[in-house]
Amino acid sequence: MTMVETSTVARAGHEPAREGSGWSAAAVLLAALGLVAAIAAVHVTQGTSTVNAPDLLRLLVGRGDDETEAVFVASRLPRMLAGLVVGFALGVAGTLLQSMTRNSLAAPDTLGVNDGAYLAVVASAVFIGGLSPLQSAGIAMLGGLLAAGLAMAVSAGGASGTTRLILAGSATAMAMLALTNTLLLMKPEETLGLYAWGRGTLAQTGLERIAYLGPIVAVGLVLAMFMARRLDLLALGDDGAAVLGVHVRLTRATAVVLAVLLAAAAVTVAGPLAFVGLCAPAIVRLLSRRVGGLGAHVWLLPVSGAVACVVVLASDLVVRAFLTGPYGSEMPTGVVTAIFGAPFLIWLAARHRGSSPARSSPSSRKGALLGRLGFAVILTIAGLVTLASMAVGMLLGDTTLLFGDLTNWLTGQSGPAITFLLDSRLPRVLLGVLAGIALAVAGTTVQAVCRNPLAEPGIIGVTAGASVGAVGLLVVVPSAGVGMMAGVAGLGAFLAFAAVYGLAWRGGLDSDRLVLVGVGMGFLGASITAVLVLEDTILSAQAMTWLSGSTYARGLTDAIPVAVALVLLLPVLAFATRELDLLSLDDDTPRVLGVPLERVRLVALAGAAALTATAVAAVGVIAFVGLVAPHAARALVGGRHVRVLPLAALLGASLVCLADTIGRTIIAPDQLPAGLMTALIGAPYFVWLLWRTRV
């Protein structure tokens, strides 16, 4: 009986809950604040000096010594306050974003706000340097606004469905992160310390930042509270709210700017602390199904803030109590919030009911009427472009060679110096081509099966699984060869893929759910990889480059696993192009035509995972190729896979090959990893694609 009652309240939870008296919500707020106080009290006893709880108690009653006081004021208190400031900021920012987009997956992370702010901070450290906390916050705010604006714009403010919003946000985040990593790699001196900070840490030296940013966050909180009533009304829907006298656009814009301001302030204090802004409001909304009145923003906002504080401070407690690095160095707090928060995202995504209008079959009207001859011409041109990219890849680099050198080399007439240069470039070019083909084919397959032109192995978490495997192997066996690496990366990819597939399966595969769970898995994999990299300082530079996708110092043997995977799987996929065509239409057509739907889907996805894993083992993480190549191919020759597959493969090959060539040429003798280049090229393309197809 009570069950029935609570579930009625639960339904009402998302509505402005006037029926709750507010007393129970107030009790929840008090309990949350009490928990914050308790954790904070334990939190200040942790630190790298010998100052302990009894010392602090003596200080409290006025009998402490100077050292205890200094440690408390300049180290323990700032760190605890940083937790509070960041917690409230992220909790409230997450709540605002989720309310504005009416989307439980929206958060500073999934909308790219954190990464935008982080990029802005890193860029200002590189190009300007020596900024005050307030200036940093301002710049972080600009970066965050830019990222959020982009993500919101291409997804029509979230109105066009969960999947588009989250994809737009995570693509924006990936692009921002690629830029940030480029800066970190190119300017290691100016950005020393920003890599670890980039994972989010509460460490503070003194109260300076808190003193500036604490008040900003407090003002943001108060402003949000003033908006509570209008936010409640907006939850009724835009029309309903407008009827009740709410200026919908103004309210929306104000709330989003406020959220970004809060998130940017949090980034300035502690770096991007992952997923706090996602899971704190989610926990509170779950609670609100049981507690009357908690669904109203006047309670929702402060309780989310308090719960976020609990998450942040508790994570920090765990980090310092249990996760000291092997050499006594501290782990960033954000690592724990990410590993705790990413499963939360996966869980929320797995419950997602697919009803999004965003889903569209990845076919393209343009080019659909292309004749046989037209296709042959386009394919030939693409083939020539690929060959040209390979030639350019052989000729450019730190030393520029000429075409004559290449012909001499091919005919065995070149001298030792040039023979050596070309011999050493050959594996890089070949690996780029093979990895490009593998990624493009995998992308085409995944897009067909997911029936979503925005899906790719990287986005559905397969790549992240492969990198966890590969980096994990590097930590355990630093001298592991490429065969072993391909094997373990493959295992990681398959586990990640199996988990995504299994979690997204709820009496049938919903492609939106698959993508959302995959995004969550991608974040989880990235967090685990970050822990592995940070645990091993010696490895980290090597792993950083590898994670950015590099063909550096690769030999011909490194190409074997990808080549084998391609030889085995390309024929299978070539025979299945008709099934892929049918699969990309809808669930019913293939069934009617007697195609074993689930079996084809599983085989196709497993093949894509294998291709991705071998490519990752060979050249590391190369993003966006699996997304851009199939899309461009469809735009050129229409949606039939017998045409899309070969063209996408050639385009992927050219893209990776050119990206690698540019990366090792533009700042020679230093070099940029190929994966950063593909991200820098691919991310804008992706955003443009989202923009063009917006509803």
């Binding site: 300049a74 006594g328 004559g404 480059t545 110092a553 003798p669």
Partner: protein, 320 residues
């Protein structure tokens, strides 16, 4: 048009080839007089055989580049030349030295272009990278750090390099100079009544809202040198294989009253951020004025020349 361009390209290629051939002949002709064939066993246990002592050498780590210059052989190529100049000032590189890119990912093209007769790198580089380098020239692999005996490791590295370039006598002289500097330093410290003093050494930078401090613990070269001087390290926490660990200001309270030495050629947090910090202000070594900045170009992971500078700087700080 296209044919002419291809022909020109081919021609230029050919000219380049002839140029290559002749320069190879030159180097063998002019330098082989300075010594006969040399054989040296590197840290991998590989025997490296050269027809003559190497003179066209590429050094991919700074300590080895420093050793070369100290031995009187100007390297042909060094990784991150500009950064070398910031961090290492005991020796200076000629303008003729070519930058071959990042220490972690040196440019194979640039190294090959120098036509070296020896490449020196450190053991923690990847297998595939060393394989690639060996295609260009013999590779001498040194061991970067040995936390049990850094001074011994430094000497081993120096001697390997000296053998390869035919400068064994200079190497002996460099080590003798270092020993003499250490002996003088120890006497000076004893004379100043500081024989039992402790020290702590650090490098620091800002990290978002906080200051990160990297301590030179036991097992670092700097610490080994200071211990040779009769001092003992006040930092006893965990360290990595280079003898280093990263921590925060609060941990400085564990050091007690000691001589605090720091190196900060860039982002000098010890002079800028920390003086305002109450913990820092209350530390006994800060109150007693025992904080000393070492010369910014003191490379604490270098060869005998840098080590001499480290010793001089430490002695100067402790006896001032």
């Amino acid at each position: 048009m296209r044919t002419t361009r291809a022909a020109t390209a081919a021609l230029i290629g050919l000219v380049a080839l002839t140029a290559c051939g002749s320069s190879e002949d030159d180097s063998e002709g002019s330098e082989s007089g300075s010594g006969g064939p040399v054989t040296v066993t590197d840290s991998r246990g590989e025997e490296i055989q050269l027809d003559a002592p190497a003179d066209q050498v590429v050094a991919l780590e700074w300590s080895e580049a420093e050793d070369l210059v100290a031995l009187g052989v100007m390297p042909a190529g060094v990784a991150q030349v500009e950064d070398f100049k910031t961090w290492v000032n005991t020796v200076s590189l000629d303008d003729s030295v070519t930058d071959v890119g990042l220490r972690s990912e040196p440019s194979i093209d640039a190294i090959a272009g120098l036509q070296p007769d020896l490449i020196i790198t450190e053991a923690d580089r990847s297998r595939s990278q060393i394989d690639d380098l060996e295609e260009i020239a013999p590779v001498l692999v040194t061991e970067g750090s040995d936390h049990r005996d850094n001074i011994g490791q430094m000497q081993t590295n120096l001697e390997m390099i000296a053998t390869a370039v035919g400068e064994e006598d200079t190497a002996d002289q460099l080590m003798a100079d270092l020993d003499a500097t250490i002996a003088e330093g120890r006497e000076a410290i004893e004379a100043a009544g500081m024989a039992d003093a402790t020290f702590a050494a650090a490098h620091g930078w800002s990290e978002g809202g906080s200051v990160a401090i990297r301590m030179f613990g036991e097992g670092s070269l700097l610490s080994d040198l200071a211990e040779e001087l009769g001092l003992s390290n006040a930092w006893t926490g965990k360290v990595d294989e280079w003898g280093l660990t990263t921590t925060d200001v609060e941990a400085m309270t564990q050091l007690g009253d000691t001589y605090f030495l720091y190196i900060a050629p860039e982002d000098n947090v010890f002079a800028e951020a920390l003086p305002d910090n109450p913990i820092w202000q209350g530390l006994p070594f800060v109150e007693n004025g025992k904080v000393h900045e070492l010369d910014g170009g003191t490379w604490a992971f270098g060869g005998p020349k840098s080590s001499q500078q480290v010793v001089d700087e430490i002695v100067g700080a402790v006896t001032s």
